[in-house]
Each structure stands twice: as structure tokens, then as C-alpha cells.
């Protein structure tokens, strides 16, 4: 019984590390900034959450602290990727590569 639980947990950890590996591969293979942020943030979120879940299966006594880190990652990764995307759009160094710019006609207050 204990052996089966440990095998399941280790396979969940292996899946999470595979997703982290694909995140870094996408980070180095993608040609553009917006592709890079999409590949990097989504796959790294899934990989981190799977590794936390796998360690929680391996050591069931640790689940409160792992749940705190889980909720923390779910909240902060979205906020940080949104901030990076805004900074990349407003910093004018990647705007020339866009085919279609939906935010061009909007009045965006940069000072607020």
C-alpha cells in the first residue's frame, strides 16, 4: 500500500519536471518575446504545481505548508506574467514584430 503511494507520487513529480523542461525548451526555441512569455509562464506554472502535488503525495504529513505554497504560486504567477506582458508591450522594443496591434487605438494612461 505504501509502495503504491510512493510510486504514484514519484510519477507525478516526474511529470511536473517534464513540464518544467518543456517550459525551458520553449523559452530558448521560441523566436519572439510574446511567444516566449506564453511558453515560459504557462508550462512553468503547471510543472511547479505538479511537483508540489507529487511531494504532497510522497509526504502526506506536509500538506498544509505545501497547500500554502500551492495557493501562493497560483496567485503570483498570473500577476507576474501579466506585469511582464504589459512591460513588454509598453517598452516599444517588441512592438514592430506584431502583425496586428489591438491596443493601438486605445487611450492607455501610462502615468496612472
Amino acid at each position: 500500500m505504501m509502495e503504491i503511494r510512493e510510486i504514484i507520487g514519484s510519477f507525478i513529480v516526474l511529470t511536473g519536471s517534464f513540464f518544467l523542461f518543456t517550459a525551458s525548451i520553449g523559452l530558448i526555441r521560441m523566436p519572439d518575446f510574446f511567444n516566449r512569455i506564453q511558453a515560459g509562464t504557462k508550462a512553468s506554472t503547471l510543472g511547479s504545481l505538479l511537483i508540489l502535488a507529487g511531494v504532497a503525495v510522497l509526504n502526506p504529513v506536509w500538506w498544509p505548508k505545501l497547500l500554502i505554497i500551492f495557493i501562493f504560486i497560483v496567485i503570483t504567477n498570473l500577476v507576474s506574467s501579466h506585469c511582464i506582458g504589459r512591460a513588454g508591450y509598453h517598452s516599444n522594443c517588441e512592438k514592430g514584430k506584431l502583425n496586428r496591434d489591438d491596443l493601438k487605438n486605445l487611450k492607455i494612461n501610462k502615468g496612472e
Binding site: 517550459a23 511537483i51 505545501l66 506585469c83
Partner: protein, 86 residues
């Protein structure tokens, strides 16, 4: 068997960290380096949690939480600085 699977997972995560550091080194502008820094932060959190499992110490999870907090703060500050200056 369990130990071997977790060693393979640890080596894959270390390889991901090395590839992200390569992108951090060759990134054309600061904005690509920030994306790489974000990914490095989350890979480091996962690595610290796996090391806590290896060492069987629950206190390392606090280290992972504080590391995540500081990494998030650093990413937010640098992104805001690029967007509109100090």
C-alpha cells in the same frame, strides 16, 4: 525504483534550470531576461521542495516560500521599472 524516478526528475529540473540560465545570458533585451528570471524562480521553488523531500526536513518548505516571495517582488519591480521608469 522510487529513488531512481525522483533522481531522473531532479536531473530534468536541473537541465531546465541550465537552459533557462542560457536564455538569461543571451537574451537580446532586458525584457527577455525578465521572462527567464520568472521561470528560474519557479524552477528554483520546485527544486527546493524536492530537496526538502530528499533531506526529510519540513523547514525547507519555508525557504521555498520566502524565495518565491522575493522572486515575485523582484520580477514585479523590474517590470514596472521597464514600463514607466522609477
Amino acid at each position: 525504483m522510487v529513488e531512481i524516478i525522483i533522481y531522473i526528475a531532479l536531473s530534468l529540473t536541473l537541465l531546465a534550470l541550465i537552459i533557462s540560465v542560457v536564455r538569461f545570458a543571451i537574451g537580446p533585451k532586458t525584457i527577455n531576461r525578465i521572462v527567464s528570471l520568472d521561470v528560474i524562480g519557479f524552477i528554483a521553488i520546485s527544486l527546493i521542495v524536492m530537496i526538502a523531500h530528499f533531506a526529510s526536513r519540513v523547514i525547507y518548505l519555508d525557504v521555498a516560500l520566502v524565495y518565491g516571495l522575493l522572486s515575485f517582488l523582484g520580477v514585479i519591480v523590474v517590470a514596472r521599472f521597464i514600463e514607466r521608469g522609477l
